[in-house]
Symmetry: D2
C-alpha cells in the first residue's frame, strides 16, 4: 500500500463538492451515515464468501476493483468529515493507538481473540 501523497487528494475532493454546491448536504451527521453506507457496500462484496475466497490476495480482478472503489468511497467521506471538523487524522490515530495498546496488553492478548472491534 501507499498513502504517499494522500494529502494532495484533499483539494481535489473539496473542489468536487464546491463545484456542485454540495457543501450544504454535508453536515457531519450525514457524512457519518454516508461512511456507514459505503462500509456496508464493502461488506456486501464479501457476503457468503468462504474464508479461502475472502483472504488476501484476492485473485478475482472484478472483485478487487470493486473493493478498491468502496475503500475509496469510504475514505473520501472520511476526508470530508475530517476536514469539516478539523480533525488531525495522524494525531487522532496516534492517540487511539496509545489507548488500544493500553487496553490490549501484548502479554494478555498475544494470539488471542478479543471481543468486538477496537
Amino acid at each position: 500500500m501507499s498513502v504517499r501523497g494522500i494529502e494532495k487528494i484533499l483539494p481535489l475532493i473539496l473542489n468536487f463538492r464546491r463545484e456542485r454546491d454540495w457543501v450544504k448536504f454535508h453536515i457531519p451527521k450525514e457524512l457519518a451515515a454516508a461512511i456507514s453506507v459505503e462500509s456496508s457496500e464493502l461488506v456486501e462484496l464479501f457476503l457468503w464468501r468462504d474464508k479461502e475466497d475472502a483472504g488476501a490476495p484476492i485473485d478475482d480482478d472484478e472483485l478487487m476493483l470493486a473493493i478498491q472503489e468502496e475503500v475509496a468511497d469510504i475514505l473520501i467521506y472520511l476526508l470530508y468529515l475530517s476536514h469539516d471538523l478539523k480533525i488531525d487524522l495522524k494525531e487522532a490515530i496516534i492517540n487511539k493507538m496509545v489507548k488500544n495498546a493500553e487496553k490490549y496488553p501484548v502479554k494478555e492478548y498475544f494470539g488471542k481473540f478479543h471481543d468486538g472491534a477496537l
Copy 2:
C-alpha cells in the same frame, strides 16, 4: 484537517498487530466487517440529534473526542485492509473521483440532491 505524515502511521499499526499475533484474524472479509462496525459507532454518536446539534463545528468537547476516536478506528482498519490488499489509496481515490465526476456532471447536479451515496 491535516493528513500530512499519515504514511508514518502505517508502520505503527502494522507493528501493533504483529506484536499481538493478530494478523491471522485480519482476513479482508473480517476487516471489512470491522470497518462497518466502527462506522456504525460513529453514526450512533449522532443518533437522535438535530441538524443544529450535528453540524460543524461541534461544540461539545466530549462528543468531539468520541468522533475523533471512531474516525481513527475506521481509518486504522482501512489502512490494514489497504495494506493487505496492496491498494494504492491515492490512486484508488483519483480513479473513483474521475468516475464520480462523470456520473454527476456539474450542470445537472449543481445544488441538487442525488440519490444515495457516491
Copy 3:
C-alpha cells in the same frame, strides 16, 4: 401496521431457501452481515434528506415502496436467523423491553434525548 399472520411467513421463506439449497450459506454470522447490509440500504434511502422530507407519512410513492422492500429484506434475514438459532422473538422482545424500562426510567428520561441506540 399489521403483524397479524406473520407466523405464516416463516414456512414461505424456509421453503424458498430449501428449494435453492442455500441453507449452507446461512450460518448465523453471515445472516447477521446480511441484516446489516440490508439495514444500510434502508439508511441510504434517507441519505441527504431533510427532516421534513424524512418524516412520516412519506408522500413519495417510489420512496415508500423502496422502504417497504428494505424493511422486508431485513425482516426476512432476521426470521432466518431467529429460526436457525431457535430464538423466540416475542420472548426476546419482552425481556429486552423489561431491561430498557429499567435503564430508562420515565421520570428521568421523559422527553429527553438519550445517548445512542437502546
Copy 4:
C-alpha cells in the same frame, strides 16, 4: 422459533415510547439509523469468529443471550418504523419474496452463490 403472538408486542413498545415522550425523536430516518446501529452490534458479536464458532447452534450461553438482545433491538425499531409508516409487514414480505423468486430462479441458483444480499 416462534413468532406467535408477536402482534401483542406492538402495544407494549408503543406504550414505552409514549410514556417517555420519545415519539418526537422517532422520525423514520432516525429509526432507520437506529436499525442499522443495532444490526452492527449484532455483527460485532460475530467479529473475528471462525465459521465453526459462528454456526448454529451457538453453544456459548452468554453469546446466545447477547444475540437475542440485539435481535430484539433490531425488531423493536423495525416495528416502530413499520407502525409509523403503516407498513403491512406480512404483505411487504410476501411481495418481496415474489420478486426474489423471480430474480433467483431455482434452476439457475440451486446450490449456487449469489452476489450480495437479496
